[in-house]
């Protein structure tokens, strides 16, 4: 397993590292995408990721708060919980098709960052709800009781004496989920990305390039796959670095939280 991982990393690093330089990171693709850089794809991935967080974090946290703090145990909650579990297992291409149908076509958002971010949002939502739910459940009941006994309202108690302690756990879960979303290809190919769009998106209703889709296009759709190989490896390396550093940030938050947690 480790050997395989090592081999995979080695392939990408050794083939990709030579391609990466300042121009590669900051220039637009040139000459039928056999030269130039991947700047629009980097920006696109960042936009899509931020858009996903903007939708997923508030909705995910609100849902988890409802499930943990407000909903009474019963059939309704059981159905929601099983929906969350099952939704987390739906293949991402299905999410993509759903996003294509709902956001791109029906709601007429077109092939855009908005459609892509919403599709990725649906993809990560169950993961974020689960993480937030675990984080909220790990806050001891006695904190809630202590606060309520001082006359705090339920909402005030959650805001002041539950959510702050659950936040590191929620953030860790969100970042891990979003790191996964950043690398998802199928959903964004169907809803957000273009094969080639050298100018940067000006609004959330513009389509964009993105790293994951760029790799797919470069490896399979390029007019000259052999000439584009270097760029493919370079893009892989950039995407991997982004995803791995997101994961690293999540791990740092979790470790710091564990060290500080003293209840």
């Amino acid at each position: 397993m480790i050997l395989f991982l090592f081999f995979m990393m080695w392939t990408f690093v050794s083939n990709g590292i030579g391609v990466i330089n300042w121009t590669f990171l900051t220039d637009i693709p040139r000459k039928g995408m056999t030269e130039g850089g991947i700047f629009p794809a980097i920006v696109g991935t960042i936009y899509l990721t931020l858009g996903t967080i903007a939708f997923a974090l508030p909705v995910g946290v609100a849902s988890a708060i409802y499930l943990v703090e407000y909903a009474r145990e019963g059939r309704f909650v059981r159905i929601i919980n099983s929906a969350i579990t099952n939704l987390a297992g739906v293949p991402s291409i299905i999410h993509g098709l759903f996003g294509l149908g709902l956001f791109v076509v029906f709601l007429q958002f077109g092939t855009s960052i908005l459609s892509g971010a919403l599709t990725l949002f649906l993809l990560v939502l169950p993961i974020i709800i689960s993480a937030a739910r675990e984080a909220l459940l790990s806050v001891p009941m006695s904190f809630r009781e202590g606060s309520l006994a001082l006359g705090a309202s339920k909402l005030g108690t959650i805001r002041n004496n539950v959510l702050p302690y659950a936040m590191p756990g929620i953030l860790t879960g969100t970042i891990l989920a979003v790191a996964r979303a950043a690398g998802e290809t199928a959903p964004i190919i169907l809803t957000a990305t273009f094969f080639f769009r050298p100018s940067l998106p000006q609004s959330i209703l513009d389509g964009t390039m993105a790293l994951a889709s760029h790799i797919y296009y470069m490896a399979t759709q390029s007019p000259n796959i052999l000439l584009a190989r270097g760029i493919t490896y370079g893009t892989v390396l950039v995407l991997l670095s982004i995803v791995l550093s997101l994961n690293f940030v999540a791990i740092v938050i979790r470790t710091r939280q564990r060290r500080r947690k003293n209840w």
Partner: protein, 253 residues
Amino acid sequence: MADALKMETKELSVSFGDVQAIKKISLRILPNKVTAVIGPSGCGKSTFIKSLNRMNELVPNARITGEVLLDGENIYNRSYDVTILRMKVGMIFQKPNPFPKSIYDNVAYGPRIHGIHDKNRLDKIVVENLKKAVLWNEVSDRLGASAMDLSGGQQQRLCIARALAVEPEVILMDEPCSALDPLATAKIESLIRALIEDYTVVIVTHNMQQAARVSDFTAFLYLGELIEYGNTRSVFENPQNKLTENYITGKFG
């Protein structure tokens, strides 16, 4: 006589689902006195004390009937504001439950949620109540330190300071010393005696010596029913009910 009562329960019953935890308890709580509620485990003492500030409502499927009067007003009236109630009737829990914040922020928590944000005023409240809870001398130089680093006894006194900071009139204590060592217990007990100068205290305890040491009145609960209530000294020295006598003399419990 009615004016002299701080709190009173009238035919108070609480059940959880099919289980009736306390049955028709009528009890009078006098101001500036310590009322102890004793009885064997599972007799309903905790349920009883938690119905005095409506904390039982947090338990799903709790059903409460009867009345609980605070200064003559039924706190279970639909119009009674539970926020006001819990400001007037504070609570100390069995296990010290400081929040994972600084000592200062723990005491300031209550005043802050009730809208006090003025730094000077908060400073004054924090110092004053830490002194009242006899914790000031031990923590005055480290108010910014985490409350979690205090000892168990200090944590419980911090919880008392935190409760005092919202200016309650009644303080409910649910076995406040059961997680503490004898020395820390002695400190809390002497603190309770000092508190009744300004407050009314209701304490639940399974420790009969503690009830005898600290309380003015004692109520003995058994299987959810109030068996005996009276002056602590007379309950302990001259119990009217055989059950009370057996419990106090250690024949069961």
